[in-house]
């Protein structure tokens, strides 16, 4: 074994090593939470390059900019000449590349809010834009599912497409749909098949029919496609992602190999085993064994609290306890002190996760009052805290009026972005600049050459990109946003029937909801809290929810229960005062 090869295989366990070194042909890697999925992908890229594959022939796609960025950063630190030339990006980035390659003129990308504006004009929807929003959703579905849509929708769809054409614009879904059309040309298709000879797909369980079609075209029938994923973490059925694609991979691609990564390095044995017992109640999954590497662990705390305010207060006080108090006043409160004397926590070690954005308001209120720094991820609509999304919206809004010529003279991408932000009058340029730099493939000069290109990239940003891993603050987010993240201590708020599983219009998809809860549980490395309120004000109504049935699926041996009693009336504290 050469030195470089030893480095590439260093520290891998047996199944990871098999996945990294597997020969040509279709391969499915079943990778549960914390099993070293990204590590395996990154090492596989390095290994392919080491085997003499040219980096330009490698395509690695994933779903979030965050994941793509991490993969890129980790790839370039490994041995392998020109590893940065591999295409590592999101589906949208890949689609954008193909559309650019095959569109003779420049174009713009419109975001969901642009879409809604267009549709409002088409539908003459002057009210809240509710109809336009729903139609945007339907059109998106048609494009993702490759459906035809009913007659009424079809009429609007055609007008909408005409409007896009007139504006020289593509929407985000077009970035997948258009390439499928473009690849009907056999010579174009052959061009991409020659270019992307090795395909790696991350989070394959979340793939939708349009993305599937596109990959299928690239890979041919028995191409070198390696898909990595976990059926138990498929949580995007509502966006057209069907776990079926994952379950069917081996039928789809004949002769496909399958490797299961079963060693969980992230969480304590308690969390690994408890979440595994819970998810085994799903029928549509690939049975797999999990094997916690870390032993023992504190029991999962199931907490019953009087109401949503008490729920948030309990979260704050547990964080305070681990930090060791954020003020002298807290320390004067005897019961909690010295519980964690030799701790090494910082605020970014904690996350509060909930099912719906509606739950976030009270949690934010209690956090705001506590003074503990926090960031809310992906809820533009609700947050008054400025998030990346806000800045991005500002940027998008003002981009139309920018003096582009001033920007074209920039020397580097970073300078270009800085100038663009300056020109736009966006205040938090450092934050946004850092973000933009991070999503743009650094060595791929062909993707971004001018301001227009930069703006196209900005439009690919997702709500999940709100998460700033460099901000040392407690993360507040929905279960959907939590995917791919990990924290020492995780609080799942509102583990109540009706919220988890979430009951919409009287029906729920229990298996999807169970997977969502599984994703939440498996974010925790050290400690997990499952909180439920005995009384909750939700959607304008007071409710008395029951604990989530999923919590009851966790064997009692893994949990401990605490009950916060209904609050007694507070005694008023007299302030001592001189003069």
């Amino acid at each position: 074994m050469t030195n470089a090869e030893a480095r590439i295989l260093d520290g891998l366990n047996e199944s990871q090593r098999v996945a990294v070194t597997a020969a040509d042909g279709p391969l499915m890697v079943v990778a549960g939470p914390g099993t070293g999925k990204t590590l395996t992908i990154v090492r596989r890229i390095a290994y392919l390059i080491h085997q003499g594959i040219r980096p330009e022939h490698i395509l690695a796609v994933t779903f979030t900019n965050r994941a793509a960025q991490e993969m890129r950063e980790r790839t370039v630190t490994l041995p392998g000449k020109d590893a940065a030339k591999a295409f590592i990006g999101t589906f949208h980035m890949m689609g954008l590349q193909i559309v650019r390659d095959n569109t003779p003129h420049d174009f713009v990308i419109c975001t969901r809010s642009d879409q809604v504006d267009l549709l409002r004009a088409i539908l003459k929807d002057k009210a809240h834009g509710r109809k336009a929003n729903e139609t945007a959703e339907t059109i998106s579905r048609i494009k993702n599912f490759l459906e035809d849509g009913d007659e009424e929708t079809r009429a609007v769809y055609d007008q909408y497409q005409a409007a896009l054409l007139e504006n020289n614009a593509f929407d985000l879904d077009d970035l997948i749909l258009k390439p499928i059309g473009m690849l009907r040309d056999a010579s174009i298709l052959q061009g991409y098949r020659d270019r992307f000879r090795y395909i790696i797909v991350d989070e394959y369980q979340d793939i939708n029919p349009a993305q599937y079609r596109l990959l299928r075209l690239f890979a041919g029938d028995s191409g070198n496609i390696c898909v990595v994923g976990d059926a138990d973490q498929a949580i995007y059925a509502f966006r057209g992602a069907d776990v079926t694609n994952f379950l069917n991979f081996e039928n789809d691609f004949q002769g496909a190999g399958r490797i299961t990564l079963s060693h969980n390095y992230r969480s304590t044995a308690t969390i690994v085993n408890a979440s595994d017992m819970m998810i085994q109640n799903n029928a549509r999954r690939i049975a797999r064994t999990v094997c916690p590497v870390r032993e023992g662990g504190a029991p999962i705390t199931v907490a019953s609290v009087p109401d949503e305010r008490a729920e948030a207060a309990l979260v704050v006080s547990e964080i305070e306890a681990r930090i060791g108090g954020t003020s002298h006043y807290w320390l004067m409160n005897e019961p909690h002190r010295q519980d964690y004397p030799d701790s090494a926590y910082s605020f970014s070690d904690f996350a509060v996760i909930y099912r719906t954005n509606a739950q976030a308001e009270i949690i934010k209120e209690v956090f705001r009052a506590s003074g503990i720094p926090f960031q809310v991820i992906g809820s533009r609509r609700l947050s008054e805290e400025r998030t990346f999304s806000d800045s991005i919206e500002t940027l998008k809004g003002r981009a139309a009026n920018i003096d582009k010529e001033k920007l074209e003279k920039a020397f580097s991408m970073e300078e270009l972005i800085r100038r663009a932000l300056n020109e736009l009058g966006v205040e938090d340029d450092n934050l946004l600049c850092r973000l933009l730099m991070s999503i743009i493939p650094s060595n791929d000069a062909s993707t971004v050459q001018n301001f227009n290109d930069a703006m196209k990239m900005v439009r690919l940003l997702l709500p999940s990109d709100d998460f700033d891993p460099k901000a040392d603050s407690v993360a507040l987010m929905t279960l959907h946003m939590a995917k791919g993240l990990e924290f020492k201590v995780v609080f799942i708020a509102g583990t109540e029937d009706g919220l988890i599983p979430y009951l919409r219009d009287g029906h729920d998809d229990a298996e999807e909801e169970r997977r969502l809860f599984y994703v939440g549980m498996t974010r925790a490395k050290e400690e997990l809290f499952l909180l439920h309120a005995r009384s909750r004000f939700l959607y304008g109504k007071k409710t008395n929810p029951q604990p989530s049935p999923f919590v009851r699926e966790i064997p009692g041996a893994f949990t401990r229960t605490i009950t916060v009693p209904d609050k007694a009336k507070k005694r008023h504290q007299k302030q001592m005062k001189l003069f």
Binding site: T326, S327, H328, L331, D342, A344, F374
Partner: protein, 429 residues
């Protein structure tokens, strides 16, 4: 321009406004102005400039002097200040920031006081910090940020800023504290350590304790009240001989040139002087703590290690060492506490208030009474008991049960018998 001439004055540079947690609603600019005069403070920190609402209030009620300080606008000046105390008061923009983060395998909680010359500097710094945390929740905001990074951000935003680690020995919230601090400034600030030119000693330590660490010789030891209510202002303070300008004050603090010394609490009176466990009423000297293996003899929990213990642990010099060029300091007890002691009552009593007001109306501000007023004058305006008490405080002849684990120390200037005796003597005349 009028105040360019160098003069001797007292400065209390670290206080909190009503926008900080658990502070008195009375901490407003007018009250700071009033109480500064009663106490004898010429330059007071504004506190809390990181809080947008407080900064707005300051901007509304004060005006720049042109020398990097602020003064209260005329229309906000009250006219009920005792004539004996009336004096000019200046403010310097100050704020305390709590950084909480993990470094080298432990949770660190470090408080720092920051000074800037202009409201525009404060705004600039606030803009930078608002990207990191929420400045609205507390006048002393909590940031998930390495203290060294904070120092860097402060110096980037305002090169004229002065950055002083706060109450450096408090166990829970300071750079050298036993629970979540470091063993040296270098461990915390690394290559930026030279930018730290002064530290705040806090209520539970005095300069003499700090002299035992040779690593601190290059630093100016400053003292401030950290007051949360107006009456607590000036319980510790600095004596300067400089121009009344931001630049001169900063230079005096950074170089020691023009820094005459400090006014101190008796360190035993501070909340964390000794070790112990408040819930069990267990108060331990450092030696006893070691003997008990750092556990509370009553309940077995870990005791809170206080400042004296921590200083002894990090000290490289014997007790009583005094480095060359060390600044003198005065150990004082706040006048209301002295008066209360003469009556054997609490400070909040009406009797104490009456007597306090009488003394300042007749003799002038509190610092004058505590440090300079001739004893016969004090006896005339107050009582022989107060005269004797102040005389003993000036001579350092007081008994204090040391504070521990968040509980203030208890002062005893007189034994009960003594108090009767002195009272009795005066009856004879």
């Amino acid at each position: 321009m009028l105040y360019k001439l160098s003069m001797r004055f007292i400065a209390d540079l670290h206080i909190h406004s009503s926008y900080s947690r658990a502070t008195s609603k009375d901490m407003v600019p007018e009250a700071l102005w009033k109480w500064a005069q009663i106490k004898g403070i010429t330059v007071a920190g504004t506190g809390d400039f990181t809080h947008p609402a407080w900064l707005t209030e300051l901007n509304e009620k004060t005006e720049p002097t042109g020398d990097g300080l602020l003064r209260l606008k005329r229309e906000f000046e009250a006219d009920d200040i005792p004539a004996s105390c009336r004096a000019d008061v200046f403010f310097v923009l100050s704020s305390e920031i709590s950084t909480i983060y993990s470094k080298n395998g432990r949770t660190r909680k470090v408080h720092s006081v920051i000074f800037v010359p202009q409201i525009s500097d404060a705004l600039k710094l606030n803009l930078a910090l608002s990207k990191i945390g929420n400045l609205n929740a507390d006048g002393r905001p909590i940031l998930g940020l390495d203290a060294k990074e904070l120092l860097r951000i402060v110096l980037d935003a305002c090169p004229q800023a002065l950055f002083v680690p706060a109450h450096v020995w408090t166990p829970h919230f300071s750079v050298l504290g036993a629970v979540s601090g470091f063993d040296s400034l270098e461990e915390c600030f690394e290559d930026l350590t030279p930018r730290i030119r002064a530290i705040e000693t806090g209520l539970s330590s005095d300069p003499a304790m700090n002299w035992r660490l040779s690593a601190l010789d290059r630093l100016t030891l400053v003292s401030n009240s950290d007051a949360h209510s107006p009456a607590k202002m000036g319980r510790e303070a600095n004596i300067l001989d400089a121009d009344i300008s931001y630049e001169s004050i900063k230079k005096a603090i950074e170089t020691g040139d023009g820094f005459l010394g400090t006014i101190e609490f008796f360190p035993e009176e501070g909340k964390y002087h000794y070790d112990g466990h408040r819930a069990c009423g267990v108060n331990l000297a450092p030696g006893e703590t070691i003997k008990n293996d750092y556990l509370c003899p009553a309940c077995g929990k870990k005791v809170t290690v206080g400042v004296l213990h921590r200083v002894e642990k990090l000290a490289d010099r014997a007790h009583g060492f005094k480095p060359d060029g060390a600044k003198p300091f005065h150990s004082l007890i706040p006048l209301p506490e002295i008066i209360a002691e003469t009556h054997g009552t609490g400070v909040a009593s009406k009797k104490v208030e009456r007597e306090y007001l009488k003394l300042i109306y007749e003799l002038g501000n509190e610092f004058r009474i505590l440090m300079d007023a001739p004893l016969p004058d004090i006896e005339r305006a107050g009582s022989p008991l107060i005269r004797e008490a102040i005389s003993r405080v000036r001579d350092g002849k007081v008994n204090i049960v040391p504070g521990f684990d968040g509980e203030y120390g208890k002062i005893r200037i007189f034994e009960v018998e003594e108090r009767k005796q002195i009272k009795g003597q005066t009856m004879l005349f």
